[in-house]
Amino acid sequence: MLTYTLRRLLLAIPTLLVISLVIFLLVDFAPGSPMSQIPLTVPPEVRLKIIAAMGADQPVFLRYFLWLRQFFWVEPLYAIDHLLGTSLAGDAQRIVSWQSRSPVFSIIAERIPQTLTVIGTAYLIGVLIALPIGIYSAYRQYSWFDQLGTFIAMIGFSVPTFFTGVLLIIIFSVGLGWFPTFYNTTLQITDWASFKQQVLQMALPVTVLALFNAAEISRYTRSAMLDNLTQDYVRTARAKGMSERVVVLRHVLRNSLIPVVTVIALGVPSIFGGAIITEQVFKVNGIGAALISAINSSDLPMVQTLTFIFAILIVLFNLIADILYGILDPRVRYD
């Protein structure tokens, strides 16, 4: 297992390098220019100077190698400096956003907390809702509970979040006035009152996203359970006189979880990626909102760095899912 993990990790390096080049070229050759953000009242010669000051007029491969150096060398040095109080990086140029002229990693650090709180909570709640629904739906297939579960899952899966989000805002914020429509990122939790405020402002976005996540995972759980419930070993277990509880929750569930765990693990990178639309609707201003605003303003360093971080997370969680698979299913051996 260890050699397998090491081999996979080593293999990930060239994969990620190729991914970074592809992303860089795609982002760079995509139409659009940071110049479009400069008002028309700024004369052309001033525009050219602004672009030159950003370094956006340099040849593409020069910018790529500069970015690689910044990402893999300068930024880790800054991280070490930040943690240990050293000054290894000196004044080397960091990856800087064209839009705000601020280091991309400090923007990410500013935004990770709200993204993880909102999207992470929604994912966790989604999983916690989905598992019991999926298990019971499969156990009582075609019962009214199963039908209802299927119905809600279909709604959660097929109705887009920009619709459910706005619908909830109109009912619960505009109509009833229970929840705020803006997420306050500067809120500090110091006492019960501010904790209540935090819960209130998280309620709507978490509901929207949890519904969406639960829909997907409950369907996977249900079908995995159904596959296993008809297996011979289930009949054997029952014949041995085990209680239904043990049969379902120990024998069937454990075997059914293998594909479900993979799905859940592969969904984790999307927590870090944020939820572009939901963040926009509730003004959570996390990573997803940063990505979309960077794309809109052709802020290439920001788009490039964010997408590359997502690529790293996806490669990493694929590996984690594979390893978990081996742990959960003793038949799977990688050596």
């Binding site: 139409p31 659009g32 220019s33 110049m35 479009s36 953000q37 400069i38 008002p39 028309l40 009242t41 700024v42 004369p43 052309p44 010669e45 001033v46 525009r47 050219l48 100077k49 602004i50 672009i51 030159a52 000051a53 950003m54 140029q93 800087v96 956003s97 839009q99 705000s100 002229r101 601020s102 280091p103 400090s106 923007i107 500013e110 935004r111 805002i169 914020s173 505009v174 006035g177 705020p180 429509t181 803006f182 306050n184 990122t185 500067t186 926009q280 609707v281 509730f282 003004k283 201003n285 909102a289 940063a290 605003s293 809109n296 303003s297 052709s298």
Partner: protein, 567 residues
């Protein structure tokens, strides 16, 4: 003795009573929301309106503009003029006298050295300063003494109120930005996110593209202001969400740029919690005509250049007919509601420069058809499309991807089709259209289409720079990497001559006359530009917020120091 003390006490109580009504920091927090979040608080590195407006609460220029576009003193004792000796007789110098004893929010003294530094900061060749053109034509900026700044121009300057005037050229503190000059400018993150200023508020927290937190500046020059103790600007979301937070849920006091559909505006106003306010500046949504041939049959480098006049649109009657067929009021009703007005001018304001040209407002379809008939454009082959000399009246009409613009395209297409033209529509991503990439065929400068629609405006109250964009030498072409404002490739020596005359004219009334004539030359006399809608900026404020006076000539938040809580 006792009586005297009591009387003194009573006198003091009376003297203090009015102050109690207007005291700094008594009204709690004012909350603003911008649909586009604030990225940076240094306008010299951004020029995005959101950033300039947010920064205007913190850093201030020497003088600003009031709601009617008149220059008002901010950090100076009076607005310089020839009469008070602030502007020299030959119009080559302007002398600003700073308010004595003025302090930065950190308590240090505000001096002429800071103003000189601001000039050096923005004009540094490697700084990439976005407001560089504000400092055009300046020879020197010098500190005569600590409280006097003298600006010398290279030539007589009829309108010297560019540098240090208006929210785009505020004064930054020398002590704070001294190490941030030139190429180092973008690396000064802490300074760019937390400039020290003289404005009513100072920064206490900044998260990029999200929230600006501020509190009242303890050193603000009016001890009774601002009424609010703290302020915050939350960004993100969309215009509808921002408007809703002010007009329906009451979470925010003020929302900037709530450009939403007219029927949604009406619904939100009905909720009774706030009001929409609109400021009409100089922004005009227009159709620009390509006077050169954009045909793909021409060689690259010759397409859309002055070498090949446009086969159809070179004809004045065709251009005029296209304008006559448009019902501008319908466009306003569909797209902007209270936030727009039909116009025939490319300079819609201020009044001094606005021509009385209103002939295009009423739609005249019959007249347009007659005009084309008279010019020989007839449907000779019965396919419903007019033609002449074997050329069909076929038009490629491009604009950016934007719901209102697509509505406009559809409406105008229906009118032009009725007129007998064949219209093909094209919508381009705004990042590409305005991106100015010389390699892309879809930039508005390259103009590989017959007509294109977008909005343009000019800064401040004087249109000279704006009008200067339409001279022959400003036409984008391969020779200048497709840069230039004269995207129509309009070229009239008489126009160029008038521009020279305008820049040499000092008398305001005379300048107005010339600008109006130039406006007419581009619009009704040549139909090079077909203005459609004079667009305002629509913002929303809560009924609980007092003192809002929306301003199109400066930052919308220009008088934020005067805002108060309605109780």
């Amino acid at each position: 003795m006792k009586l005297k003390t009591a009387l003194l006490g009573a006198a003091c109580a009376f003297a203090l009573a009015p102050a109690a009504f207007a005291e700094r920091g008594t009204d709690g927090e004012v909350k603003l929301t911008f649909p586009q979040a604030v990225s940076i608080l240094n306008p010299y590195l951004s020029n995005g309106t959101k950033d300039v407006y947010a920064a205007s609460m913190i850093i201030e220029p020497l003088a600003g503009f009031d709601t009617s576009g008149v220059v008002i003193a901010k950090l100076v004792t009076e607005v310089p003029s020839v009469a008070n000796g602030g502007i020299s007789e030959d119009l080559t110098t302007i002398t600003w006298k700073l308010i004595p004893g003025l302090k930065w929010s950190d308590g240090s003294a505000f001096t002429a050295g800071d103003v000189v530094f601001t000039y050096e900061y923005c004009t540094h060749p490697e700084g990439g300063c976005a407001s560089l053109s504000k400092f055009d034509g300046i020879k020197t900026v010098e500190a005569v003494d600590d409280a006097t700044v003298k600006v010398t121009f290279t030539a007589p300057k009829p309108n010297p109120f560019n540098a240090f005037v208006g929210s785009q050229s505020p004064i930054i503190q020398k002590a704070q930005f001294a190490a941030c000059i030139g190429a180092a400018a973008p690396t000064c993150t802490a300074q760019n996110f937390g400039p020290i200023g003289t404005g009513p508020f100072r920064v206490t927290g900044f998260t990029v593209d999200d929230t600006v937190s501020m509190d009242a500046n303890p050193e603000y020059r009016d001890p009774a202001k601002p009424a609010f103790a703290t302020a915050m600007i939350k960004g993100g979301g969309d215009a509808v969400g921002s408007a809703r937070a002010v007009m329906e849920t009451g979470e925010f006091d003020y929302a900037w740029n709530t450009q939403i559909a007219p029927e949604v505006q009406a619904g939100m106003t009905a909720a009774g919690k706030g009001a929409f306010v609109v400021a009409f500046g100089t922004l005009v949504e227009r159709i620009e005509i390509n006077l050169t041939d954009p045909s793909a049959d021409l060689a690259e480098g010759e397409r859309s250049t002055a070498k090949h006049p446009h086969p159809i649109l070179s004809n004045f009657d065709v251009r005029k007919a296209l304008s006559m067929a448009i019902d501008r009021q319908t466009l306003v009703d569909v797209g902007y509601g209270a936030g727009g007005a039909a116009t025939c001018n490319m300079i819609p304001a201020p009044a001094l420069f606005t021509s009385d040209n209103t002939g295009c407002i009423a739609q005249n379809m019959a007249g347009a058809k007659a005009l084309l008939d008279g010019a020989g454009w007839k449907d000779s082959d019965g396919d419903g499309i007019r033609d002449k000399d074997g050329k069909k009246l076929s038009i490629l009409y491009q604009t950016t991807v934007n719901p209102i613009r697509q509505d406009f395209q559809a409406l105008i297409k229906s009118w032009w089709t009725e007129l007998g033209a064949e219209v093909e529509l094209k919508a381009i991503d705004p990042g590409v259209f305005f991106g100015g990439d010389a390699g892309s065929p879809d930039t508005f400068q390259k103009f590989y289409a017959d007509v294109e629609m977008y909005a343009n405006n000019f800064d401040g109250t004087d249109p000279e720079v704006y009008l200067a964009g339409y001279t022959c030498n400003k036409a984008p072409s391969p020779d200048n990497q497709w840069q230039g404002e004269n995207i129509n490739r309009f070229c009239d020596p008489a126009y160029d001559a008038m521009l020279v005359e305008l820049s040499a004219t000092r008398d305001d009334a005379k300048r107005g006359e010339i600008a109006k004539k130039m406006n007419d030359m581009l619009t009704k006399d040549s139909m090079t530009i077909i203005p459609l809608v004079h667009r305002g900026t629509l913002s929303a404020h809560s009924n609980a917020l007092g003192g809002v006076a929306i301003n199109a000539w400066d930052s919308e938040l220009w008088n934020v120091a005067d805002w108060f809580r309605v109780k």
